[in-house]
């Protein structure tokens, strides 16, 4: 599977996750989000950038609990809950935010 961006072919897996996270950039994120039928707001970007930085630091896409706990330290209580995150990413923040952030699909069991 591939995504086409500026006549450039970007490889993805069957579910649309980038095969090489280093190919990611913000405009590509917009394209992936469009396929997910999401219009990105600053609130979405906050999470996407957070998830991406989490991955770059720890080499692991965070599961929901770890994500909320880590976000709590940075953004405070009101954004650090799964209800808030599910409202932004209805298909699941771990699955959807990592996909838009250009990261590998999180392991299903963690």
């Amino acid at each position: 599977m591939t995504l086409t961006f500026n006549n450039q072919q970007i490889e993805t897996d069957k579910q649309g996750y980038l095969l090489d996270y280093q190919q990611w950039h913000e405009e590509l994120a917009l394209l992936i989000a469009e396929k997910e039928q999401l219009t990105l707001t600053p609130a979405h970007w906050e999470v996407i950038n957070f998830v991406r930085n989490f991955y770059l630091s720890y080499k692991k896409s965070p599961a929901i609990r770890a994500l909320t706990k880590a976000m709590k330290a940075e953004f405070g209580e009101e954004k650090a809950n799964s209800r808030y995150l599910y409202r932004l990413f209805p298909q699941g923040p771990a699955k959807q935010a990592t996909k838009i952030a250009g990261l590998p699909k999180p392991a299903r069991c963690i």
Partner: protein, 120 residues
Amino acid sequence: MQQKSLAILNSSSSFDRTQGRDALDIALIFGSYEQRVALFFQGEGVRQLVNRQQADIIQAKDYLATFSALPFYDVEEIYVCQHSLTDRALTTDFHLDNVSVLSAGDFAKKLQQFDMVLRF
């Protein structure tokens, strides 16, 4: 939820088969389920803590970087056996903070405090 405390005894070196990674995944999931989890490093397992390893050079997944995220999974206890370090001429120059270095005797006693032990 009921509680059962888990000690994970790591005895394999950093890139020995998939031992370290598989142990870490278990730690993360037990932590996510709000169970008390501790990581113990004994024997060759202590090599997983050594600072400045570069997994990417040998195309290995850098799962050691994930250790620093353990607090987000509520895994706060990390113990290493001093005797195993000394045996290998290793210092306490680790790639993460909050590692408790215990004498062989204290290491064994600490392990006893847990309900269940899995070894990798």
